[in-house]
C-alpha cells in the first residue's frame, strides 16, 4: 500500500542530502579553483604589466649598451696609461672612495687570481648569556661564553690550513686563550683527505657536527657526553695527530669513513685535554668511524665509531680505554632529531689490579621549527661507576658519576647569523641534590 506521508518524508530527506552534497561539492570546487588561481595570479600578468615589463626590458637594454660603451672607453683609457703612472698619480683615498662597477672578468683575469698570494678567510663566532640556578653554592650570573676566531687559507688547490683560536672565560673570571684546532689539510680526492695537527676527534656525531660554535647547535649547551673538558666533559674530544677521511664508493648508501691516530688525552679530567707537544706514553690512540648518508632519505645520517687508547698515570699504572658510539640522526629545514649512545670501557683498577669498568651514556634531542622559533627537548644520561678508575677518583679531576635530566628550550633566529636561546635544565646527580637551571644565550656567526 502506498504511504503518502512516508513518501513525502523520504523525498524531503533526499532533497536535504542532495542540498548538503551539492553545497559541499560547490564549496570544494570553489576552493580548488580559488587556491591555484591565487597562486598562479603572479604568473599571468595583465596587459598593463606586460607593457611595463616591455618598457623595463627596453630600459635595461639601453643601460647595458651604455655600460658596454663606458667599459670600452675605460679599457682604452687604462691601456693607454702606464700602470705605474696610474698608481702614483691617484691618491690612495681616491682609490678607496671610487669603487668601479663590478665587471665580468676576462678569461685572462682568471689565472691571475689563481696565482695571487694565498689569502686567509677569517670568521668569528661567539656567545654571551645569563644563567641562574638553585644549585648550592652557585650565583646567578651574566657570562661571556667563547669568542672563536676561525681561519682557513688555501695554499694550493689541494692543500689548506685550518686554524681556530678560542678566547674562553673561565670560572675564575679570567680569559684563557686556546688553540682549539690547527690543521694542515691535503685533499687528494673525495675519497681520500689527509690532515695533521690538532683536531676534534670523530667520536660519534655531535663533536664534529657542531665543534665549538654555539650558534650552530640548537641548544645552549652540549649533551653531557659531549661536554668539553672545561665544562665537566670526559671524552677525548680533542686530539693531536693525523686524520684521514673520505667517501666510500657505495652509490645511494653514501658511506664515509674516518681513521685517526693521535697522542690521546691525559688521564686527568679537567686538565688540558690534548697532549699538544709530548705524549705520556708510546701508545697512540686510534679512532675509526663509519657513517652513511643515504641519498634516498635526505637528512638521515647513521654511523658508529670505535676509539682505543692507553692512559698512563704518573705512577705508571696503565688503563686501557675503549669508547664505542652509535647514532641515528635526522636533520632537515624543519626537524632535528638526534640520538646517540656510547659505552666507555676501562680496564685496570685504580690500584693497578685487574678490573673492567663500563660507563654507558646516551642523549636524545628533538626540535621542530616554526618560522624563526625552534622549540626543543633533550634528555641526557651518563652513568659512571663509583669505583671507575678514570671517572671516579676525585684526585684525578671532577667525578663523572651519574648525571641525567631533561632540557627544554626555545631558539629564536634573529637573522641568518644570530640567535637567541632560552633553556631550562633539570639535573639529577648521584650523591648530590638535584637542581634546576635557567639559561639564556645570544650567539652569532660571521
Amino acid at each position: 500500500m502506498f504511504n503518502c506521508a512516508k513518501h513525502a518524508g523520504l523525498v524531503r530527506r533526499c532533497a536535504r542530502r542532495i542540498r548538503i552534497f551539492s553545497g559541499a561539492i560547490a564549496l570544494l570546487l570553489a576552493f580548488n579553483q580559488i587556491v591555484p588561481v591565487s597562486i598562479c595570479a603572479g604568473d599571468q600578468p595583465s596587459k598593463a604589466e606586460e607593457e611595463a615589463i616591455r618598457r623595463m626590458n627596453e630600459q635595461i637594454q639601453e643601460l647595458q649598451a651604455k655600460v658596454k660603451d663606458l667599459e670600452a672607453k675605460l679599457n682604452a683609457l687604462t691601456s693607454s696609461i702606464p700602470a705605474r703612472a696610474v698608481e702614483s698619480s691617484i691618491p690612495a683615498a681616491a682609490i678607496s672612495s671610487v669603487t668601479p662597477p663590478p665587471a665580468p672578468p676576462s678569461p685572462a683575469q682568471e689565472p691571475q687570481e689563481d696565482k695571487s698570494i694565498p689569502g686567509v678567510k677569517l670568521r668569528m663566532f661567539g656567545d654571551v648569556g645569563y644563567e641562574a640556578s638553585n644549585r648550592k653554592g652557585e650565583t646567578n650570573s651574566f657570562n661571556i661564553g667563547t669568542l672563536d676566531l676561525f681561519m682557513t687559507g688555501a695554499l694550493t688547490d689541494r692543500v689548506a690550513i685550518l686554524g681556530e683560536v678560542l678566547f674562553i672565560s673561565d670560572p675564575n673570571n679570567s680569559i684563557s686563550v686556546d688553540v682549539e684546532r690547527l690543521l694542515l689539510q691535503y685533499k687528494q680526492s673525495d675519497y681520500f683527505n689527509f690532515a695533521i695537527g690538532r683536531y676534534h676527534s670523530s667520536i660519534g656525531y655531535y663533536n664534529t657536527a657542531f665543534h665549538q660554535g654555539e650558534w650552530f647547535q640548537t641548544t645552549i649547551d652540549r649533551p653531557f657526553m659531549y661536554a668539553f673538558d672545561d665544562q665537566g666533559g670526559f671524552l677525548p674530544l680533542q686530539e693531536v695527530g693525523v686524520t684521514i677521511n673520505g667517501q666510500i664508493p657505495s652509490g645511494k648508501l653514501g658511506l664515509n669513513y674516518v681513521a685517526e691516530m693521535g697522542n690521546g688525552r691525559v688521564h686527568l679530567l679537567g686538565a688540558e685535554p690534548a697532549q699538544n707537544f709530548q705524549d705520556t706514553n708510546n701508545g697512540k690512540s686510534f679512532n675509526f668511524a663509519f657513517y652513511s648518508r643515504p641519498s634516498w632519505i635526505p637528512g638521515l645520517q647513521t654511523g658508529f665509531s670505535i676509539y682505543h687508547d692507553h692512559l698512563t698515570f704518573s705512577d705508571n699504572i696503565n688503563h686501557g680505554e675503549l669508547i664505542s658510539t652509535a647514532y641515528v640522526v635526522y636533520t632537515s629545514s624543519n626537524y632535528e632529531f638526534l640520538n646517540e649512545a656510547m659505552l666507555v670501557r676501562h680496564t685496570g683498577a685504580a690500584t693497578g689490579g685487574p678490573g673492567v669498568f663500563h660507563t654507558p651514556g646516551f642523549y636524545t634531542q628533538f626540535s621542530r621549527r616554526f618560522g624563526k622559533y625552534h622549540p626543543y627537548f633533550r634528555y641526557a644520561y651518563v652513568n659512571a661507576g663509583v669505583a671507575e678508575p678514570i671517572y671516579g677518583n676525585p684526585a684525578d679531576g671532577p667525578i663523572v658519576g651519574r648525571r641525567n635530566g631533561p632540557s627544554l628550550g626555545v631558539r629564536y633566529d634573529l637573522n641568518d647569523h644570530s640567535a637567541f636561546k632560552i633553556q631550562y635544565n633539570h639535573l639529577a646527580q648521584r650523591g648530590e641534590k638535584s637542581f634546576n637551571e635557567f639559561s639564556t644565550q645570544f650567539s652569532f656567526a660571521f
Binding site: L28, I39, P105, D190
Partner: protein
C-alpha cells in the same frame, strides 16, 4: 551511508585541490645546469648536481677541482636551484655553508655572481666551473648537463 559518500567526496575533492596546488607551485621557468663548452663532462642526474653543489663531489673525472658558481640572492634562477637541487631555503643555505666551512668540509660557499652575463664570463674563464642559466640565456659558449623543468 550518506556520511560515507560525503567523506569520499570531501577526500577526493581535497586530493584534487592539493594536486592542483602542487602543480601550480611547481611551475617555473626552465633553468639549465651548464659548464663551459671546453668541459667534456657528460650529462648529470639531479643527485649528481646536488652532490656537486653541496660540496660532496669536488672534482671532475680527471681530478680537476670543480668551481661552483651561483647567482646572487634574489635572482629567480637561484630560487629554483635552492628548491630543486639544494632543497634548502636561503637561510638553510647560509647555515649549511657556514657549518661546512667550520667543519673543514669546504673552503667557502660558492661564488655569487650578479647576472647571467657574469655567469657566462666566469664559465668561459674557468673550464672546471659549473653554474646555471635560464633557458633563454643559454648560448653556444656553454653546454647543458641537466635541464630543471
Amino acid at each position: 551511508m550518506h556520511k560515507l559518500i560525503l567523506f569520499i567526496i570531501l577526500a577526493l575533492a581535497l586530493l584534487a585541490g592539493v594536486a592542483q596546488v602542487r602543480t601550480a607551485g611547481a611551475g617555473f621557468a626552465e633553468v639549465d645546469i651548464v659548464v663551459p663548452m671546453s668541459n667534456n663532462a657528460g650529462p648529470l642526474s639531479t643527485e649528481d648536481v646536488r652532490r656537486i653543489f653541496v660540496g660532496e663531489k669536488s672534482s671532475w673525472g680527471g681530478g680537476k677541482h670543480i668551481t661552483v658558481l651561483m647567482l646572487a640572492p634574489g635572482q629567480p634562477e637561484r630560487a629554483v636551484i635552492l628548491r630543486e637541487v639544494f632543497k634548502m631555503s636561503e637561510s638553510d643555505y647560509t647555515k649549511y655553508f657556514l657549518q661546512a666551512a667550520f667543519t673543514g668540509r669546504v673552503q667557502a660557499a660558492p661564488k655569487d655572481l650578479s647576472s647571467a652575463e657574469q655567469m657566462k664570463a666566469r664559465l668561459a674563464a674557468n673550464p672546471n666551473a659549473i653554474g646555471y642559466l635560464r633557458k633563454e640565456n643559454v648560448d653556444d659558449s656553454v653546454r647543458v648537463l641537466l635541464r630543471l623543468r
